[in-house]
């Protein structure tokens, strides 16, 4: 291939990318307009339905009621307080479980025997709904924040471990043979092939684990807690304050989206070679 040929290739690749970006920008804008319009329509219909008496505001809540309740909870500082409590416990448990789980899963690559022996236990733990452990964990660690951290930890650890370990099994044997032919030690094979090749798997476990950590956290708060969005929802539900329930639910959605975006941004940084792929 001549240099000139290579050059045209590069230029073409560049212009294609630009076109795609423009296209992506335009579709994103129209998509967002449609999303906003759809959401606004639902809110308006809901409020109109309540005003006309077609929708029971006591059982369903109403947009105006939700806004009022949100304003009250913001002003009293309770919403911030509960959000901080939920987010901090979730994030701590999530990070602890996902990081330690991934590390454990990766390290199992070194010992197939260990992996084989613990495999059924891991599968059993993975199948178990982790929230079933909540009463025990709350008895052991109290109803404060620490028990919620532990719950989120338990909910994320096994998923991360199993995913990372499976990831180490998907590695092309030829890559490992190549390293060996270059005279690499097992530790070098691990650090230069196994760990980076498994990274996309680990990232996907992190993505899943945001959801699992939140489920465990909210479940734990339902059972016993002194603060948090789960507690807000649970208490308001018992008092038939549907508007406050909605405020908690909407806040949780926002929390989930923010956490997901953060993990995605970190993933982009960690997987630069996967950018620019279609």
């Amino acid at each position: 291939m001549s240099e000139a040929q290579l050059h045209t290739h590069v230029i073409r690749a560049g212009s294609v990318k630009e076109n795609n970006e423009n296209l992506a920008g335009n579709t994103l804008l129209t998509d967002n307009l449609w999303r906003g319009a759809g959401l606004a329509l639902v809110v308006v219909l809901w409020q109109v339905g309540v005003n006309l008496g077609w929708i029971n505001a006591f059982l369903m809540g109403s947009p105006a009621g939700i806004a009022g309740e949100a304003w009250r909870l913001i002003q009293s500082g309770q919403l911030l307080d509960d959000t901080v409590a939920t987010v901090s416990a979730t994030v701590m448990g999530f990070l602890l479980g996902s990081i330690l789980g991934s590390l454990a899963g990766l390290l199992l690559w070194f010992s197939r025997t260990t992996a084989r022996i613990i495999d059924p236990f891991m599968v059993a733990l993975n199948g178990l709904p982790k929230i079933a452990l909540a009463p025990m964990i709350i008895i052991w660690f109290g109803s404060g924040m620490f028990s919620k951290v532990m719950l989120a930890f338990v909910a994320t650890f096994v998923v991360a471990l199993l995913t990372a370990y499976q990831g180490t099994h998907q590695i092309d044997r030829n890559l490992i043979n190549l390293m060996r032919s270059l005279g690499a030690s097992r530790r070098e094979v691990f650090s230069k092939v196994v760990a980076p090749a498994t990274l996309p798997w680990i990232i996907s476990a992190f993505r899943l684990n945001i959801g699992f950590a939140l489920i465990a956290e909210i479940g734990g708060e339902f059972i016993s807690s002194d603060r948090g969005l789960g507690r807000l929802i649970f208490v308001a539900g018992n008092l038939f304050n549907l508007n406050a329930v909605w405020v908690g639910v909407i806040m949780l959605m926002i929390v989930a989206i923010v956490l997901y975006v953060i993990v995605s941004q970190v993933a982009k940084r960690l997987l630069p070679w996967e950018q620019g792929q279609k």
Partner: protein, 281 residues
Amino acid sequence: MNASIAHSATLAARTTDSLQLLQSVISLDEVKKTFSSSGGESVDVIEDITLDIKQEEFVSIVGPSGCGKSTMFNIISGLLEPSAGTITLRGHDPKRGARIGYMLQRDLLFPWRTIIDNVCLGLEVQGIPKARRYEVAHDYLARYGLADFAKQYPNTLSGGMRQRVALIRTLITEPDLILLDEPFSALDYQTRLVLEEEIVSILKDAHKTVVLITHDIGEAISMSDRVAVMTQRPTSVKKIYDVGLSRELGSCLKARSDVRYQTFFDSIWNDLDIQISGGAS
């Protein structure tokens, strides 16, 4: 620049040194390989391979499909032990593939490494400091027209370019023997012809000894000094042709248009005894 001078100096020293000691780079002497299946039966894959490959020679091994080419590859590269016979690399027992560089059908570039870091892989494993290995790698990339791609990831390169990077990654560790296992079979025909030409000239410039394992007769004739034709399984060497067209004419493409090319092609084709099994047997 300093580094590259030192680099070629060691290359030169090694070449003269080895020329004085031995001519033969790799010898296979009555190599045999038998696999035992789980049922206790044993399957003979390689019956007898005796082959002596000299310094700077380009030898192709051609065989019908299923003749145990990949077993041969694994034995030569030191990933498998032969069941009987000996294999010596520069007069020594090749210990686990040391000093053999290989290139496969798939380039096996690490997607998470930039081109330059892929090229540096062997030097990194050898424990050469980063500044030094980048210097050497830049030199190689510049020589083969890939300097502009040093910071890119492999997925942005075409198949042919990726294979060139894979070859440079192999060359940079200065192996005694380069083993090519169907390196072009995933590429389209035009890229393949261009790359054959390029790889032969790169390897000749670097004074490398090469073994090419392939099922492509044309590729073997156009690139090689000698072509060893294998039998069906259990495999042995059926015949060895002294081709040398590309060396004589200085180009693989010229070799393909030489009158002798077709003659070699026909006799190798006949040796392979390939039958299109339509019905019985």
